[in-house]
Subunit: 208 residues, 2 copies
DNA sequence: GCGGGGTGTGAACTCGGGTTCATTCCTTCT
DNA sequence: AGAAGGAATGAACCCGAGTTCACACCCCGC
């Protein structure tokens, strides 16, 4: 046996893997899952189609990893807010604003990750993500109810409503690549945040 | 020229067309768009695959017609409420409850029509439907704002949020054929309605 | 620098699913 | 009843997209 992978070689492997992953993510980010064909991914990352299969056993696994990677990151951001020691209302506001504006930075990707169905294997991961996200909001709501800051709403249902409201108002009616400008985006986020806040705390108006 | 289609024959044609359409709708209703393969539709409606193409030029057109038919009906129901002469708050309540409970009667179909992407041709029709639905709510909101019953929210954004909240809380996290029983459904509709109402009128609690 | 095994390549294969079309069946009109 | 032509049939066709595999290449250890 004359060969043991040198460290240098291992790194090259990992790098290539990352390159492919990134290329795939970029394709999804501006064309949805439909644009992430194995050929295209290979082309964009500068490898041959067959090479993709040296790193993932199937296209589904590649896609699943994209979903897992990106969403883990997003959930992490929101979760940090949840676990801060602000008051529930502040947490909710911050969580909504943060998530919404992040999603707006990559509408198409956000849509693909949140709403667009794919094959069952990927779907599993996607639902997991959505569940975690909803769970974050649920925790905030539950805390708020306990402290008497929110009315007696059902946290699970309300959390789902919040996520849904995002999805539709933010990335739903989007014609692909509908760039509306930073000002409009800011306004949109603000409106959505206010909507969800009113729904959660039961009080009109709220300006920050 | 020896042949003019007799009335009887014309009716037979139309009937067959309806049979196919219904079969397709049923398949979508319990398997999503993926289940509506031309072969299956033909099998279920008792015709040959080729016969489907005597009535529609392509599968897309068949699907588009399903979306158009069903959604026209649903929008009609909601629109009737919008055009009644109740007060805005009552209208909103009724519209939400009605739409939600109708959707629950056929979750899978509702999901397919509202959220599940298909090919571009069908997508166009679907977006049209969703826009009309949102527009119904927008009208109610606008009226309520004018009369001072609702706070100064952005009607378009809020309408999108309402539709989205529905979608997610009602049919989103649904595992296919997740029958939870009439009581649970009623509770769910009520929670969603309250959420949307609080968000719209900015007041906690509301029981009917 | 030479042999061997990991890595890269891309053309070919496979397979699912929409579409077609030559043929057969059936209805209408004389 | 027989001719004429529209409707029905379903097996064959086509095409796109994921997957494979025989071969070329290169990097490592001697």
């Amino acid at each position: 046996m004359a060969y043991r992978r040198t460290e240098r070689a291992t790194k090259r492997l990992a790098d290539k893997r990352q390159r492919i992953l990134r290329a795939a993510r970029e394709l999804v980010a501006d064309g949805g899952w439909a644009a992430a064909q194995v050929d295209h991914v290979a082309l964009r990352s500068g490898v041959a189609t067959g090479s993709v299969y040296r790193h993932w056993a199937s296209k589904s696994e590649l896609c699943a990893e994209i979903v897992a990677t990106v969403s883990a990151h997003e959930v992490g951001v929101v979760r940090a807010i949840v676990e801060s020691d602000e008051a529930p209302v502040e947490k909710l506001t911050a969580a909504i604003r943060t998530f919404a504006s992040r999603a707006l930075q990559g509408r198409r990707l956000a849509y693909a990750l949140i709403a667009e169905p794919v094959d069952p294997e990927v779907e599993t991961v996607r639902l997991e993500y959505r569940a975690q996200l909803a769970h974050c909001f649920e925790r905030i709501l539950r805390e708020g109810i306990m402290r008497g800051a929110f009315p007696r709403l059902d946290p699970a249902v309300a959390a789902a409503c919040i996520v849904g409201a995002f999805m539709e108002a933010l990335v739903g009616p989007l014609a692909p690549s509908k760039g509306t400008g930073a000002r409009a985006d800011r306004y949109l986020v603000e409106q959505i945040a206010q909507f969800c806040l009113r729904a959660s705390i039961g009080t009109a108006e709220r300006k920050a």
